[in-house]
Symmetry: C2
Subunit: 191 residues, 2 copies
């Protein structure tokens, strides 16, 4: 890596740029470091263990979710993987085409689709996940065991809080005015 600016230098530059503005710096640093860490970790994993299996991050996450939970309805897979249903359809297709994942209709509710790993998928994950976990250990190297626990616990609280209160907060924020549509997207059929 050997970046131009260290994370500490960046925080200093923020201080300089925003010295006069009243901000909540601790929360800012916490949130931005979450994203910095997530990006750095993801890149490390993509360029090591995932690359050797030709998996993208998202592909791996989807496999992981299905692996952990066994058979799972697609709507929940998308939610757990943090992607939209539409994206999942595409990602699942890719994984199916590689013989790692299979799709079945739900036995009693015909609207549902269920995902499951193929034997090849199971085998891949059984082989891959220990390697993945080794890299999780590597990236956590600077943390004491108790720190790792505390880190996980704090993040868990944030996620839980967002799951419980995020939607209401977004509603409150926009008040009356509905969210503007995205710049892109499918248009209505006629004006």
């Amino acid at each position: 890596m050997s970046g131009h600016h260290t994370i500490a230098e960046t925080e200093k530059a923020v201080q300089a740029k925003l010295g006069a503005v009243p901000l909540h710096r601790e929360q800012m640093a916490a949130v931005s470091n979450i994203h910095r860490a997530a990006t750095a970790i993801r890149q490390h994993l993509e360029n090591s263990v995932l690359r050797t299996s030709d998996l993208t991050w998202t592909g791996f996450v989807v496999l992981w979710v299905v692996w952990i939970w066994g058979e799972m309805e697609t709507r929940y897979v998308a939610e757990e993987a943090g992607i939209s249903k539409g994206t999942l359809t595409g990602v699942a297709k890719t994984l199916q085409s590689r013989g790692l994942l299979e799709r079945m209709g739900h036995p009693t509710d015909g609207r549902l689709a269920v995902l499951r790993l193929t034997p090849e998928g199971e085998e891949l994950m059984a082989d891959l996940f220990p390697k993945f976990n080794e890299e999780e250990v590597f990236v956590s190297d600077p943390l004491e065991s108790s720190e790792a626990q505390s880190l996980a616990e704090m993040l868990r609280r944030m996620v839980t809080h967002l799951e419980a209160n995020g939607e209401q907060r977004r509603l409150d924020l926009r008040g009356d005015t509905p969210l503007p549509p995205r710049r892109s997207g499918r248009r209505a059929k006629h004006g």
Copy 2:
């Protein structure tokens, strides 16, 4: 949100699935919660403050980096934003087309390009960033001030560690065998 499984339930399912396999659970929980939190926070911000300005996450991050540092060479912008140079070219184009960012050649080194916010870009960030920061406070609500500091500090250590040792680690991991090429990507001109 109201997901099918809470983060605690997921961790329990992992325990059930992997109970027999010797794994490093603390690090696993830490890393996976970093990504869960990052995804949840990003989605919250995209669907609230960023949406009202029609900015994507990446677009905002690029603007933020340039805003904090003032004029900045593109290679450093990409690195700080956590995206590749190629991606930055496209993102910068989008932001230029909206009149938020401008591009200049470097005065002495003809290979370099420098980015800077336009007055409109400066105005947008001056208005937007406080709102963004308010949401950072919201998502950090479950954390004590000292906890937020501790969280940021632990993540900073992880990032620093990866920047210092990630590349060597990846080299060690693959040993002799070079990384396989990505499935996608530009091909050589002739076979």
